[in-house]
């Protein structure tokens, strides 16, 4: 059976840690890093495997730092 899987890639140096993406994700896939980036912000990280690649997080990101990938995965 084919399943839709997604994942995000965050440009962690450009992320300002605003956390708007964390509320936009209906599957609570995004949390914040423990360490900070070069600007001193905690940055968005994916925290589970539930991403469907819906792009909601990336669309509301003010700085456009999230890229989203989506693929059909054949699972048994």
């Amino acid at each position: 059976m084919a399943k839709i899987k997604g994942t995000i890639v965050v440009d962690k140096e450009q992320c300002k840690g605003c956390e708007v993406c964390t509320t936009a994700c209906q599957f609570k896939c995004i949390g914040m890093s423990k360490e900070v980036n070069g600007k001193g912000y905690r940055y968005a990280i994916s925290v589970n495997d539930d991403c469907t690649g819906c792009t909601n997080c990336a669309i509301v990101c003010p700085d456009g730092v999230i890229s989203v990938y989506r693929a059909k995965i054949d699972s048994q």
Partner: protein, 257 residues
């Protein structure tokens, strides 16, 4: 594992190339960045990068020309609609949009706003209403809500002395030159997608010489409101949306609200 789907053919969203690589000067969580990107995605999808000219305001988005990779001019405070008019009339084949805050568009630039709308210039006016002068330190704007604190109304806007919050979008909507007029937000994915459709409609209307499209975006100013971005968005829903209701006001020349 997830990593194996990260390849170009699976990429479904990334920042449009029409946004430059320059880090946005906006505070974390500020809606300005999303609106910039939705304009640029529209320009990208319509294939009109070399035919588009934007006008930057005075306000936090004064540097918009650094972030949007199209030709841009920066206007004196409030004068973006006048500059946009000049550019559109000299180069009628171009797509012209203005980008202004509430202090710029609804205070110092009120006359330019109203007359540009009334003339029905074939352009798109984008109006970011965060109910405050963000750039200069959160002073009261014409749009500041009754009772809302700002740095120049620390005990809240007292309408008896300071007047009522101005709904300039409802004022310009009935003008004959205005073809589309709507109010949006960018704090949820659905709202952002709606805004983008409105921008597209506005760009198409100006190509068809139908008149002016006026798009208000009720947005957050986390720094001015002294709230975290998510709290600011919640506060915006609870306080700004009742006074500035989201939705279409005029579509294809007909009032709908």
């Amino acid at each position: 594992m997830m990593e194996n789907i990260i390849s170009p053919e699976n990429l479904v969203y990334t920042k449009t190339k029409l946004m430059t690589d320059k880090a946005l000067s906006y505070c974390p969580g500020c809606g300005h960045g999303v609106v910039h990107r939705m304009i640029m995605e529209t320009v990208d999808e319509m294939g009109i990068q070399d035919k588009t000219i934007g006008i930057a305001p005075v306000g936090c988005s004064v540097l918009a020309y650094d972030f949007m990779n199209v030709d841009m001019q920066q206007a004196a405070h409030g004068r973006a609609p006048a500059l946009g008019t000049a550019i559109k009339r000299l180069m009628p084949g171009k797509y012209v949009f203005t980008y202004q805050g509430d202090g710029d568009l609804a205070a110092i630039g009120t006359a330019e706003t109203i007359h540009c709308c009334n003339r029905g210039e074939d352009m798109v006016m984008i109006f970011i209403n965060n109910a405050i002068y963000g750039m200069t330190g959160g002073q009261m704007a014409p749009t500041t809500l009754e009772g809302m604190p700002s740095s120049t109304s620390p005990y809240g806007r007292d309408v008896a002395r300071m007047g009522y919050p101005l709904r300039i979008t409802e004022m310009v909507a009935p003008l004959a030159g205005v073809y589309n007029c709507s109010r949006h937000s960018v704090h949820t994915p659905a709202a952002v997608r709606k805004l983008k459709r409105a921008i597209r409609k506005g760009f198409e209307a100006q190509a068809d010489k139908k008149g002016l499209t006026f798009i208000e975006v009720v947005s957050n100013c986390n720094s001015g409101w002294k709230k975290t971005p998510n709290d600011a968005n919640k506060w915006m829903e609870e306080n700004l949306f009742p006074y500035y209701p989201i939705g279409d006001i005029k579509i294809d020349g007909k009032m709908v609200a």
